[in-house]
Symmetry: D2
C-alpha cells in the first residue's frame, strides 16, 4: 500500500502541499494514519506540469522523509497540477522504475493498492498491454501494468471507460487464480488538464480516497467551493476541508469543480 | 536513535539472528518496540569477522527491510562475531559514511543515541580526535566522532577507560553549549575477540541495553549459561532469554561469559 | 556491452581476481580494452558459491570502481566458483534487477552483448519464458530474458542445447523485426559445479571470449594445465596465460579442464 | 578531477546546455576531452536560480550519463543562472554531500582540482572554517572545505579577496606537509547575480577554464559580444565561440560582460 496526493489549482510551490501540511505526504511516508501499512519508505515520486506539454518526473528509491533532493525541488518548483506518491512495496523490487507516478506522454498515473496474486497473474495482465505501449514498460509492478492495460483499452480517448475495462479484465484473470487476495485501488490519473480518481475493490474494502481544499497558499486565491486536492488521506485535521469518495466511485476534477460518479469494472 | 545487535559464539549464518528471530533487527528497522523512533530506515550496516584480521563491512543507505543484498549476504556469510545496525538519523545526512558500524583496523563500534547540541559541539568534539585518526574520519556523524575520540584516548589499549574519558570530555563540551539536550548512548565495541557494551546518559534516561541467548542455531551448541547476543532490545519475547543492563553500566563479553560493571564518564 | 569474469578452482579471495590483476575486472569498469564501450559504469554484480547450495548474490547500481562494499566483500569472501560482471547498459534502465549475474536456484548466468531491436522484440522474447520461470523475472533486460528463455527450454537438464534453442528462437523473432541490429553474446552459465561459456553473433562479430590461468594465488596450487578463469577479456598482459575461444564456439569447464566445441543456434 | 559548466543569460532550459551541445557536460561525464581523468562518473549536481532567493540543488551519486531524474529535470527547469558539475572523486567517498555544487544561502561554488596531500592537510584546512560556517559542513571533501574557508574569509563581501586569502592559507598548510602534490583549481562561484571563476595552480599546470557563447537557444537572444557560459572545457568545436582564461587569472561575469584579471593567492 502507498500514499498519494494530487493537486490542481493556482500555481503553488510543491512544498506547500508536500511538506507544510499538518499531516503532509512526506510525514505520511514515515507514519501514515489511514493506511494498512504505516511506513511508506520504499521510494517516492513526483510528476509536475510546467511549461512543457509533458510533465517532469522525479523518482527515487530512498525514503521521502530524508531526501534532500526532494526537499529542494519542492521548494523551487511551482506547478498548477502535480502528483506525488510515497511507496510501500507489496512485493515487487525497490527500483526507480517501480516508483509511481508512471508517465506516458502527457498522461500520468499513480496508485495505492494491489492486484491480488500478482506473481501468478502478472503475465496474463501484461498480455493486456498492446505492443504500442509494452515497449514503454520500464518496471515490473502491478500498478504500471494496470496503467498500461488501460492505455491499451483507449485511456487517452476514454479514461473512465478504459480504466473500467482494464480492471474488468484484470478481475477475470484474477478469478482464474483463486480468490484469496482481493483487487484494491485508490488511484489518480491526469492528462495535464483534467484529473480522474478511482476508489474500487473486489471485496468492498477499498483504500480511502478524499478530495478537498486544505490550507495551502492556494486556498485564498481560489474561488469559493473550488477543490484543488485529491488524496489517499487528508493532510490536515480540519474535517470541513475534506470529503470522502464512497466505495465504488470515481471522481472527475476539472477547473476546480469535482463530480463524483459510480465506478464499476466493465 | 537506532537499533543494533552484536553476536559472538559458535559460527552462525548472519540470517539466523538478523532475519529469523521473532523480533529480528531487520523487523525492528520497520517497527522497533523499545525505541523512541519506531522506524529505523535511514540505512544499515553489518561488520563481521571471518578469516582475516580485519572484519568485512557492508553498509548501505536504503532501508534494511527490503534490501536484497543484505538478505543474500546474511544467508551466505557465517561468522563467530558480528555487529549489525539499523539507523534512524538524528540529523546528519544519509550516506554510507554515516552508517554504523564504524571500523578502524580490527576495531568496530556502533551506537544508538546522540551527542546533544551536535551541530554546536561538533567542531570541539572533532578536536578531541588526534591527527593519527582524523584522517580516517569518513563521515560527519556524532557517533563516528565519539568512536574516534575514544581511539584518540587510547581505546586500543584501554577500551573502557578510553570510552569513559572520551565521554567525559564530550560532556564538558556539551555543558558549554547549554543543557537542553542530553547525551545518551547504548553502544557496542569489539576488537574481534572481546565485546564491550555501554549504557549511559546524562539525564538518567539511557536507551535500553540487553544481553542474552536467543533461540538461534547457536543456542544448542553453546555451553550452559553462555551468552552470545548483546542488543539494544530483545529479539524474541522469551523473557528468560534476556537480561537488562542497568543504567550507567558497561558490559564485557569474553568467551561466552559476561561481566557487568558500573560505567561513568571520567 | 559489458565485461565479466568467471572463476573456478582452489578457494581464493574474490579480490585476488577482481582487484589485484593488472587489468582487473574492476579496472575494466573504468577503462576496458577489448570492448566496444570503454566505460562499464552502469552497475555491477557478483555471484559466489560458498557453503550453501545456492550462491550469494550482490548487485548494485553504482560504478564498481569506487564501491566500498564491493571492495570489502571481495577482501572477505573466499570462493571456489564465482562470477563477476560490470555493466554498460544498452538501453534498459539502471536498476539492481537489471544487473548481472542473474540467478535461479543454483544456476547463475551473465552476459555481454545484446538482442538487436530489443524493445521491438521484447514481448515476443518474453513469451518464450514459461510461467514457471516468468514469475521470477525481476527486471526488464534482454539478458535476463535470454536466461529465462533458456531455462524454459530445459537449461537445467541440457544447458548447451537449451541455450542453442533459446537463441534460435530469439533469432527468428529478431528476423521478423528487420536485420539492422545483430544478436551478439559472450556469456557464462553455471550450476555451481560446471561452467559453460558461449561466443556467438548473428553477424560474425562476436564479443571476445577467453579462458586461461592468470597469476592469482590459485595458480601455484593448481595442477599443470588446469584452467581456472573464463573472461570477456584477459586480466593481464601475459599472452601465455590466455586462449581465445573462436567465433561461434562454446566452452565447457569442469574440474579444471576445458573443452571447446562449435556452438550454433538450433 | 571533474568537469563543470556555469550559465548566465536569458532563461533557457537546462537541457539546452547540459544535454544538447556537441560535447555537452553530460557527454563529458562519460568521456571528457580536456581532463586528466576521462570518466567523471562519481556523481553530479546542479544548482539553479529560479523564483526564490536561494537556488535549487539537485545532487546524486549515480553517473550523470544515465540518470533519468537529471534528464527530466533538465527538460523542465528553465533558469537565468545555473551551475552543473560531474565528479571524478580524488579520494573522498562518493556521497551526495561530497557532490558539487556546494551551497550556502544564496551562494554556490563548484570546483575542479584538488588540495594536495588532502588527508594530511584536512584538519588544518578545516580549522580555517569559522564556527558560523562549520556547522553547515555536510561532507568531507577538499572542495567544500575550500568554499567554507573562503566564506570564513569574508567571501560574501569580497569574493575574490576571500578566495585569494583562503587559497593562500591552504598553500601554507600544504607547504608544511611536503611539496609532492600540487594545489590545482578551476572553480566557479556565484551569489545568484554575478559569477566569478578562478584558474590557479601551485605548479603552473592549472586545469583549463573557458568562457564563451556556445550555440544554445540563448545565443540569438543575447546582444552582440555577450558571454553566457563559463566552463572547464568547451561544449562545442567552434573555436570562435570560446576564449581560454590564462593560468593564474580570474574572471568576473556580470550582465553578459566578462572581465579577466590576474589572480594570485594572498
Amino acid at each position: 500500500m502507498c500514499r498519494w496526493v494530487a493537486y490542481a489549482g493556482p500555481d503553488i510551490f510543491l512544498e506547500d502541499l508536500l511538506f507544510e501540511q499538518q499531516h503532509s505526504l512526506i510525514s505520511q511516508s514515515l507514519r501514515a494514519r489511514h493506511a494498512s501499512q504505516v511506513t511508506n519508505g520504499d521510494g517516492f515520486g513526483i510528476a509536475w506540469y510546467g511549461q512543457r506539454n509533458r510533465p517532469g518526473l522525479f523518482r527515487d528509491i530512498l525514503p521521502a522523509w530524508n531526501d534532500e533532493n526532494l526537499r529542494s525541488l519542492a521548494a523551487q518548483v511551482q506547478s498548477r497540477l502535480f502528483f506525488a506518491h510515497v511507496r510501500a512495496s507489496t512485493g515487487t523490487s525497490v527500483s526507480r522504475s517501480n516508483c509511481h507516478p508512471f508517465q506516458f506522454q502527457n498522461w500520468v498515473f499513480m496508485h495505492n493498492g494491489k492486484i491480488g496474486h500478482w506473481q501468478d497473474c502478472r503475465r496474463e495482465v501484461e498480455s493486456l498491454i498492446s505492443p504500442e505501449f509494452y515497449r514503454y514498460r520500464a518496471g515490473t509492478s502491478d500498478s504500471e501494468a494496470l496503467f498500461m492495460a488501460a492505455l491499451s483499452e483507449g485511456l487517452q480517448d476514454d479514461p473512465v471507460g478504459a480504466m473500467s475495462r482494464a480492471i474488468g479484465k484484470v478481475l477475470q484473470i484474477m478469478a482464474a487464480h483463486g480468490d484469496s487476495e482481493p483487487f484494491r485501488m485508490s488511484a489518480a490519473l491526469t492528462d495535464g488538464t483534467v484529473i480522474w480518481a478511482f476508489r474500487f475493490s473486489s471485496d468492498q474494502a477499498s483504500p480511502s480516497l478524499y478530495y478537498g481544499n486544505p490550507d495551502t497558499h492556494a486556498k485564498d486565491r481560489a474561488a469559493d467551493g473550488q477543490v484543488n486536492t485529491i488524496a489517499s488521506e487528508p493532510s490536515d485535521d480540519d474535517e470541513s476541508n475534506w470529503h470522502s469518495v464512497p466505495e465504488g466511485h470515481g471522481l472527475r476534477w476539472s477547473g476546480g469543480r469535482v463530480s463524483v460518479f459510480p465506478f464499476v469494472p466493465a
